[in-house]
């Protein structure tokens, strides 16, 4: 599903990743953990094809991500990868239902069908808000639920989530995690959770702990 080899990356003079290897199999839930600034978010951005690393290789669903052009990379991400970023990263001018429907609309689906599917996913994500609400009207937790619904609507084979429950209380966080992990348990999707929260990490099959941009230790949790 995902195979990162010798990945290195730096922001100006700050080294974020040093020779990181990470393999994730179908149906596997991997927690990438570590203290603030250890490189875990950068690793997720590299794995998801959002950041191009300065060293190493990234194979995503059998394809060499770094060899694809931008259009092919975007298409691969849109159809097969679901990404939940830390603060939701919703499109501010679109209603929540259109935000969730966006991956389907960009893929050429009809608007009515895409909006119906989006409304269903918003419901499954536990959101009880007007569908035409704008992102600015949402709490942090609501925005994270919308982002999760948007990530899952295409039925992705690989799901990346960066601190997906950071703005939610414990019960809300558990509900959202159950939703994000369901494709792994039922459909064999792979899930990579970046988190500093041990309660979240404890849902994973394996922990990869980063420190100073490198893998400090790795352990099976089941």
């Amino acid at each position: 599903m995902l195979d990162l080899t010798g990945v290195g990356h730096a922001y100006r003079r700050t080294v974020a990743l040093r020779g990181v290897n990470l393999r994730v199999a179908a149906g596997e839930v991997v927690a990438v953990t570590g203290p603030s600034g250890c490189g875990k978010s950068t690793l997720l951005h590299v794995a998801a094809g959002i950041i191009r690393p300065q060293a190493g290789s990234v194979r995503l669903l059998g394809q060499d991500l770094l060899a694809l052009d931008e259009a092919d990379r975007t298409r691969l991400r849109r159809r097969q990868v679901g990404i939940v970023l830390q603060y939701g990263q919703l499109v501010p001018d679109l209603s929540v239902v259109d935000n969730v429907a966006l991956p389907l609309l960009l893929d050429g689906q009809r608007r009515a069908a895409a909006r119906t599917a989006a409304a269903d996913w918003l419901h499954r994500a536990g959101l009880d808000i007007a569908l035409d609400s704008l992102p600015a009207e949402l709490s942090g937790g609501q925005a994270q639920r919308v982002a999760a619904a948007r990530a899952l609507i295409t039925g992705p084979r690989l799901i990346f989530a960066d601190e997906p429950t950071g703005s939610l209380d414990t019960l809300g966080g558990e509900q959202l995690l159950a939703l994000l992990l369901d494709p792994a348990h039922r459909l064999g999707a792979a899930v990579v959770l970046v988190t500093h929260d041990n309660m979240v990490a404890a849902h994973a099959d394996r922990e990869v702990r980063l420190r100073d941009g490198a893998v400090a230790h790795e352990s099976a949790l089941r």
């Binding site: 040093r18 404890a202 400090a216 352990s219 949790l221």
Partner: protein, 179 residues
């Protein structure tokens, strides 16, 4: 939660109705599903102390063809003790003598690899937390007790992470990744 529940919990079991020692044990095991199951001997010893202290009395002794069965009931003093116990917050212990603290300090004091100790413990804690999260009790009260166990594991994990930070900070030039 590896400890035998406090004697006051036995009083709580008897609050609504008198019960045999066997029923008290079964109630305690179901109230605290993540504790080690109690031995009958422990339960009878606790009941014996409570009778001695006048908090519980023997309501009747039945012999139904089998072994003698004693039915225990709460006394008025037992009821007052139970109410007082529930009204007082639990003593917050911070004696630093938990097994994970003992192991870490012993490793550091003896020059052993404390980071290895801490990393192994972290994995053990996460595994346990995962097991507990995966099999949530159906009973809402059972879930509440489970939440308490998980919250304690989480507190331990935060301490383990902090300990790693402190140990690595105290060793310039060395981090987990360079070992």
């Amino acid at each position: 939660m590896g400890q035998v529940p406090a004697a006051e919990v036995v009083l709580a079991v008897l609050k609504d109705a008198p019960a045999h020692g066997y029923d008290v044990k079964r109630a305690l095991d179901s109230w605290f599903p993540d504790a080690r199951p109690l031995a009958y001997g422990q339960v009878y010893a606790t009941l014996g102390r409570l009778v001695r202290d006048g908090l519980v009395e023997i309501a009747e002794t039945r012999i139904d063809g089998g072994p003698e069965r004693t039915v225990y009931a709460l006394t008025a003093a037992g009821r007052r003790r139970l109410a007082g116990w529930l009204a007082e917050p639990a003593v917050v212990l911070s004696n630093g003598a938990d097994e994970i603290v003992r192991k870490t300090v012993a490793a550091l004091r003896t020059g052993d690899d404390a980071l290895d100790v801490l990393c192994r413990q972290r994995t053990a804690h996460l595994r346990r937390m995962r097991e507990l999260r995966a099999g949530q009790p159906e009973d809402p009260l059972g879930r509440l007790v489970r939440d308490h166990v998980v919250a304690h594991l989480d507190a331990d994990l935060r301490w383990l992470d902090l300990a790693v930070e402190r140990v690595t900070a105290a060793r310039p030039g060395e981090s987990e990744s360079t070992r």
